[in-house]
Amino acid sequence: MSERTTFAVAVLVLVLIAVGLLAADQVNLLPALAATRATEVDRLFRMLVGIATVIFLIVEGGLVYAVLRFRRRKGDDAEGVAYHGNNALELVWTLIPAILVVVVGFSSYRSLARIERPDQNPMVVEVVGRQFTWLFLYPQEGLTTSELHVPLGQPVRLELTSEDVIHSFWVPNFLAKRDATPGRVSELLFTASQLGSFPIRCAELCGAGHAIMTSQVVVHTPDDFEAWMAAQVAASE
Amino acid sequence: MTTSVEHSDEFRAGRELGLNHVKLGMWLFLASEVMFFGGLISAFLHYKLNNPSLESGLLDVLLVGGNTFVLLTSSYTVVMALAAARAGNSAGLVRNLLLTAVLGAAFLAGQGYEFASLIREGMTPTSSVFGSSFFTLTGFHGLHVLVGLLWALRNLAKALRGGFDQGRSLGVEIFGLYWHFVDIVWIVLFTVIYLI
């Protein structure tokens, strides 16, 4: 490679990296995060976005450039340059993706380990999917509700199952989802980090009412939660 | 770019590789059959391991052992049929194909008897997950034996018409591949269902 091309390539690489970092930092494609583990997923997502942006720009850019630059001009009936391959080049574009895969795979694995690490003495809520509603059972209080109420900052372990077909419990703002499968119990761990109420949606096709199988998580301050719980228990007696 | 070659030249590439296209096709079909039974066997194993059923005690290993022996013998008669066809010995071919058909029928009879007695003892395809997977798996194998039986009879008729004279044995060999495969499947099923 001549010095000019080397320089150009170097500049290009730097620009791409800059754009990638910018994209990773600036794009906001996820819903407002409302759980501690969500931030971990968000971090991973931003890394993916950064890498993806760079790859996307390289390929699509190369495509557009090639089409414009090597477009057949009128009256030019010559053949293209006849070369069949270039081992060095092919090695590079086999290795670089391979390395990226290792990086992405490793950090995905690390994030997975983090978001599935069990908490100390979590509050357990049993969740039952039933065409087409969600039921939430608070074992200690023996209370059943149609909305999930949790205290802020309190680690929660949901134990999900289903009475009929497979449902999938999804809180977009928690970036968390788990199938509720009949005949088995699956776990979902989260710790709410924002006050307010957030939608719950069923993500697994479960029949005619799939689209309307919604509910919400209501996150209270611990005191409010106690009050709410007391009121519920009182009402249920 | 093109130079003249004889028209009879189809399948030449195959012959250069020592491959007959019908045989290759049959082997590929058998590969897909492996995966088909693979699906059924996986389902059976899944339930055998995850919800063991007392009904598995109803299975009569001795009876089925005898049946297994019958099927092994039929595999032997099939290879003898092939050997006879290659040797141009049409009498031997007919005899062995006949024996194969009889043994195949005997196997089916044995399986029918087994099914009947199991059902009498209350184990049916709808009695439990074990029953479902047992009858489905063995039933599909039985169907394959039935197909093989019909094929054997068809070959028998062809042999009687002298269709395999002068060592034209390919038809017998292809049929043999299928029959031996069904035998192999049974060897596996016998172990997976009755022995383990």
Binding site: L30, A52, A82, L205 | V5
Partner: protein, 540 residues
């Protein structure tokens, strides 16, 4: 063959050939292409209705139950009756000619595998009259056990289609291995043939497992067996394993042949040898082998054993490597070329640019923590449509335009073709890009209704869908008019070097006057030696 006849009797004669049992691989190829395209239009119509329902929140056109029927049959028709068999159509017509054979190895089996398709399609669609299948194309149990009778018809139909593609696959492999003309060594096979080999091996290995699974579902529904009845101890996860063991490889069954087609087109339209022939050929094989080892990445949220999920994540990501090799090799192929931007090339370029998006988002989906968030959302819908519509369907169109002169003996109208590409390209991106956003922001897939905040994104998607739908009109018009009275096509209008261009357009009854003997690779462009070759070949 139309071209050489007088229109009146000729047209009728031809029609008879094409709607009756015929063992000529070229006739069967056309039967496949026309039949599957018809189902493509039906599947598209279903999609149009769904997009209309989704053009605004609330249930106005279809209620939940009806929507599920449309969604299920849209998916099943598009996958099982269009994108999988359409490539068998191309392979039927082209593969034997490309390897210098007179026909497929098993012509009757070949005809049989086609004639399974129309009845299967009819069975699937008639299910609408007995309460159509409504459990999605994934037919997850136990939902698919409790759905209406149509679900049983659906299972039967899919079993038939599976059988058809297995028969086809056996035929393609046998033909390629045993019927190559002298000189067509393994390393001189056109890349489309390589891709079909990889595809056929996947079909042979994976499809029977789905057949077995569907048998279990059908038995549960019809004979009262208990495989998937939870009360009796049946396990829904077992179905997911069986289903995805086929249905993930199926994605490669749907896209590998497309990669083969564009690999044919890039060299011809850039007048350059394909870059890295062996790497492209071997990456097809690598993809099909790896493709068999990744299925459980569809089950990351199903509470699958954690020790199992990570290996699946890794294998899924590793597939990006051979895929990347292909994409970069195609880029290097057009680099330094004399690129002719005719319709087949445009669609091939569109294939890369859109398949890339599908591929990259595939990595996102392989990454378990992110997948847990977007699994079963519109992000997945967008991803699979970029792979299968932006990818596979673009490749199909590329192939249809590229081989139109060879198949029909007529040239298509270039301007209409370009118009079609433009509408298709804009429509695809307009309808599927917003879906990524909708999914990430919280819109589940397979819903007839959605929260108001997703309205604008869905309006965009529906506009795109309308554009996509109408984009088929110029194509249909172009195809019919050009086939009827387009200008006659020479033997080799694109100056291609693969064998199908060395015979007349359309090819003669047994393809070759005399078995060809090949002494060079399929993509030796860019060298004067090959330049006069097509002319001489066209002469005989």
């Amino acid at each position: 063959m139309t071209s050489s006849r007088t229109p009146a009797s000729g047209a009728f004669q031809t029609l008879r050939r094409y709607i009756s049992w015929n063992t000529d691989h070229k006739v069967i190829g056309i039967q496949y292409l026309v039949t599957t395209f018809t189902f493509f239009l039906i599947g598209g119509a279903l999609a149009m209705v769904m997009r209309t329902e989704l053009s605004q929140p609330g249930v106005d056109l279809l209620n939940g139950a009806e929507y599920n029927r449309f969604m299920t049959n849209h998916g099943s028709v598009m996958l099982f009756l269009w994108i999988i068999p359409v490539f068998s159509g191309f392979a039927n017509f082209m593969l034997p000619i490309m390897i210098g054979a007179k026909d497929m190895a098993f012509p009757r089996l070949n005809a049989a595998s086609f004639w399974l398709i129309p009845p299967a399609g009819v069975i699937m669609l008639t299910s609408f009259f007995v309460g159509a299948a409504d459990a999605g194309w994934t037919a997850y149990v136990p939902l698919s056990i409790q759905s209406a009778d149509g679900q049983s018809l659906w299972a039967v139909s899919v079993i038939l289609l599976g059988t058809s593609s297995i028969m086809g696959a056996i035929n393609f492999v046998t033909t390629t291995i045993t019927m190559r003309a002298p000189g067509i060594t393994i390393w001189r096979l056109p890349l489309f043939v390589w891709a079909m080999m990889a595809t056929a091996l996947l079909v042979i290995m994976a499809t029977p497992v789905l057949t077995a699974g569907l048998v279990l579902v059908a038995l549960d529904r019809l004979a009262g067996t208990l495989f998937f009845s939870v009360e009796a101890g049946g396990n829904p996860i077992l179905w997911q394993n069986i289903f995805w063991f086929y249905s993930h490889p199926a994605v490669y069954i749907m896209v590998l042949p497309g990669m083969g087609i564009v690999s044919e087109i890039f060299p011809v339209f850039s007048r350059k040898p394909i870059f890295g022939y062996k790497m492209i050929a071997l990456s097809s094989m690598a993809i099909s082998v790896l493709g068999l080892t990744v299925w459980a990445h569809h089950m990351f949220t199903s509470g699958l054993d954690p020790r199992l999920r990570v290996p699946y994540m890794i294998t899924s990501m590793v597939i990006a490597v051979p895929t990347g090799v292909k994409i970069f090799s195609w880029l290097a192929t057009i680099w330094d070329g004399k690129i002719r931007l005719q319709t087949p090339m445009l669609f091939s370029l569109g294939f890369i640019s859109m398949f890339l998006i599908g591929g990259i988002t595939g990595i996102f989906l392989a990454s378990i923590p992110f997948d847990i968030h977007v699994h079963d959302t519109y992000f997945v819908v967008a991803h699979l449509h970029f792979v299968l519509f932006g990818g596979a369907v673009s490749a199909v169109y590329a192939g249809l335009y590229y081989w139109f002169p060879k198949i029909t003996g007529r040239m298509y109208d270039e301007n209409l073709g370009k118009l079609h590409f433009l509408m298709n390209f804009v429509g695809t991106n307009l309808s599927y890009l917003p879906m990524f956003l909708a999914g990430m922001l919280g819109m589940p897939r397979r819903v007839a209704d959605y929260a108001p905040e997703f309205t604008s994104l869905n309006v965009l998607a529906t506009m795109g869908a309308v554009l996509l739908g109408s984009s088929t009109l110029p194509f249909i018009y172009n195809a019919i008019i050009s086939w009827a009275k387009g200008p006659r096509a020479s033997a080799n209008p694109w100056r291609g070097l693969t064998l199908e261009w060395s015979v007349t357009s359309p090819p003669p009854p047994h393809n070759f006057e005399q078995t060809p003997a090949v002494d060079h690779g399929p993509y030796d462009y860019g060298q004067p030696r090959q330049l006069e070759q097509p002319a001489s070949a066209a002469a005989d």
